[in-house]
Symmetry: C2
Subunit: 415 residues, 2 copies
């Protein structure tokens, strides 16, 4: 089979040119990509992918929210569908690989299998989810959650983008809606397989080409507000101060050290921090910062959050400061399917492709599917761990090895 695959790769051209081709829809000045949900660039990209799938003889269709499918009917279509793909939307000025690689890789894998092996036993569908990033409207996983029936139009009826365009208006302008296409909810999905760039530097540091994702982390996000008193930076002795910058710094130092010491998979980030009044010679009365905490075990998240907020409380009391904490995200950790993961490991092993198990610190469509059906998520390396940036890059050999393993996983599942 190895020989056949290589021959096929020669015939179909390289994945790199498809990546570049897809990146031309929404290309930015900075050599990045901006493809926001329901924008013209986004629509052109979906239609272009549809064209490619049509050419290969896949039966293509949209659902009412704009998810694109390319169906390869199996001989035993009653046994459910193997779904494979990722998302077509990007962040603003994002990279060429995030989401797009998963769509292209799934397409190329299915194209290859179809050309070599013809009709599968089980139906395979390539999917290009309409939305995952939450870049235009304040909602994420719009594509995959609609397929699961978690979301419907009621969810977005009052939502607008930053320019005040209502969600439903944008959707209809792009040509979608329940009047035009069939409902996205599905109950025939048997398995979901996604391949994605890692967006971290773990594979690169370990010189592995494939990451077999064991879990997708749970995420908790908070806003922490520390309120003290604004005083003159010259006339207020240190002992009289209620300095919000100083207390927030203590919190963050404590948090970082605690996160480093607790568990190698735990990450805690203060990414946004704003100071009031933010003037050099005035002691700050208020600091508000965000807290992003991730781990793949709920019990570790519980323990860590309990410890840090109890310490924050103690430090705030000691400093005579007011502390306000509000949580605005609580995503549960999701485990990927152990059997499919074992299959992926064995395939990588057979192909002498260096691989490792890995925890996904980022959210993916696979996490939505993970709660509904056996799901497998594979990673390929991200150079320097850079993502959501025009500098996002994965080498062609890594892209190809990903498609190689994905094809074989789909082959074992569907043929």
């Amino acid at each position: 089979m190895e020989i056949q695959i290589e021959k096929f790769m020669d015939e179909t051209g390289d994945v790199a040119s498809l990546i570049e081709w897809l990146a031309s829809f929404g290309a930015t000045e900075n050599k990045g990509v901006t493809r926001l949900l329901y924008s013209e660039e986004w629509l052109s990209a979906q239609l272009a992918m549809k064209g490619e799938m049509d050419k290969e003889g896949l039966v293509t269709y949209f659902d009412s929210v704009g998810n694109l499918f390319g169906r390869l009917e199996g001989a035993d279509s009653a046994s459910g569908t193997i779904l494979t793909g990722s998302h077509i939307d990007t962040v603003k000025d994002g990279g060429k690989y995030d989401g797009a690689y998963g769509v292209i890789a799934s397409f190329l894998a299915v194209k290859k299998l179809y050309r070599i092996y013809g009709q599968p036993r089980k139906t395979i569908e390539v999917v290009s989810f309409c939305e995952e990033e939450g870049s235009r409207f304040p909602i994420t996983f719009w594509g995959s959650r609609n397929i699961q029936g978690i979301y419907d139009l009621d969810h977005v009826k009052d939502m607008e983008d930053t320019e005040g365009i209502p969600f439903v208006e944008a959707m209809k302008k792009a040509g979608f809606g329940p009047e035009v296409y069939k409902t996205p909810a599905r109950n025939d999905i048997d398995r979901f397989v996604e391949i994605h760039i890692e967006q971290g530097m773990v594979l690169e540091k370990n010189r592995n080409a494939i990451g077999v994702v064991s879990h997708i982390v749970g995420q908790r996000r908070y806003t922490v507000k520390v309120v003290g008193e604004s005083d003159h930076a010259g006339t207020t002795p240190m002992s009289y101060r209620k300095d919000a910058v100083s207390t927030a710094s203590e919190f963050i130092s404590f948090l970082t050290n605690k996160a480093k010491g607790m568990d190698p998979h735990l990450v805690a980030t203060v990414g946004r921090l704003n100071v009031i009044p933010n003037v050099p010679n005035v002691i700050a009365c208020e600091v508000e910062f965000t807290l992003d905490i991730r781990h793949h075990e709920e019990v570790i998240l519980d323990l860590f959050c309990k410890e840090i907020f109890s310490s924050f409380d103690g430090l705030a009391k000691k400093a005579g400061m007011k502390l306000e904490v509000s949580q605005w995200m609580d995503v549960k950790p999701v485990a990927m399917d152990m059997e499919m993961n074992q299959l992926a490991r064995r395939i990588a092993e057979d192909k002498h492709i260096p691989y490792q198990d890995i925890v996904s610190g980022a959210g993916h469509d696979a996490q939505v599917f993970g709660s509904f059906c056996p799901t497998c998520l594979l990673f390929v390396p991200s150079q320097g761990g850079i993502s959501h940036s025009p500098k996002e890059f994965t080498s062609v050999p890594d892209l190809e090895r990903g498609i190689d393993v994905l094809s074989e996983v789909l082959y074992k599942l569907a043929y």
Copy 2:
């Protein structure tokens, strides 16, 4: 004399109404005052003060930069001038007392002395400095430094306010300039006495009514930039991070603890801090913060700065971060005159007014004069230490006690 003074106070009305009256020039919606250099409000206030001084028989005049003087000629005018006063300008939406109280108190003290004792032995001049705050143009102590001959028009020839109005144009529009009035530089000033609100809470906490300022602190201001790497908050393990927020927090925690431990008069403040890119789920690549460090001894400032920057260097190296430090202010500490301070203490003691020695953590016109002639700076309490705010407040008894001590100091110096 006590009886005479009280009688006088009854005759001349209270200081509180003069404070309110002066605050009406530039009164803001928030019940604060905005009197920026050379603005209409500022000019009205200077002219109104001139009118009050004229009424009392002082010989009033402006110099070419807009400092206002009210002169009470002494019998022995060759022996030099006792100058007393403060500044008329304010910060944006500042309080009614900062600067204004010093001008009014000096005027009321001289008015009282003149009414009671007639012509002094030495000439006394009340001064209302045109500018001290640096609120409109990027320059401070424009009034007092012109009197010392440190500044001239060359200093401001390229300066503009935030609306693009050139300094000299603003000055001429207000009616000032070398063509109209005499040069501000003086060589006849023998002593300078200023009274000001403390702008801190030391007197209030200690229940003292008068602060005799021993020193005005030296000030060093820096911008510190910590440069790391922007990475994904979910996919980057703690051990791989170069998190600028986390490293800056370590710096600030270290700094605060060091400042608290070193010397009770040392203050160190991070008042402004900005994060790049400042997004919840992205590890920050850059934090820039200001550092304001004050103490009245140069040797302590040297020692503290050396220690913290050496520690910052070490922490940055350990974290693999780049560190950039630039200093943009270096004001030397200034000592007030020991003999005049002794006089002020004795007067407060005789009058049973609770007083204490105090270090001024804020800059004042007295610090410009302190390097040129024997200078005395007295403080009255600021409620809650609040300053540069419409909430600035000093009680009438405290305002009156300040004038009482100031009058007596001027009496001893000039009569």
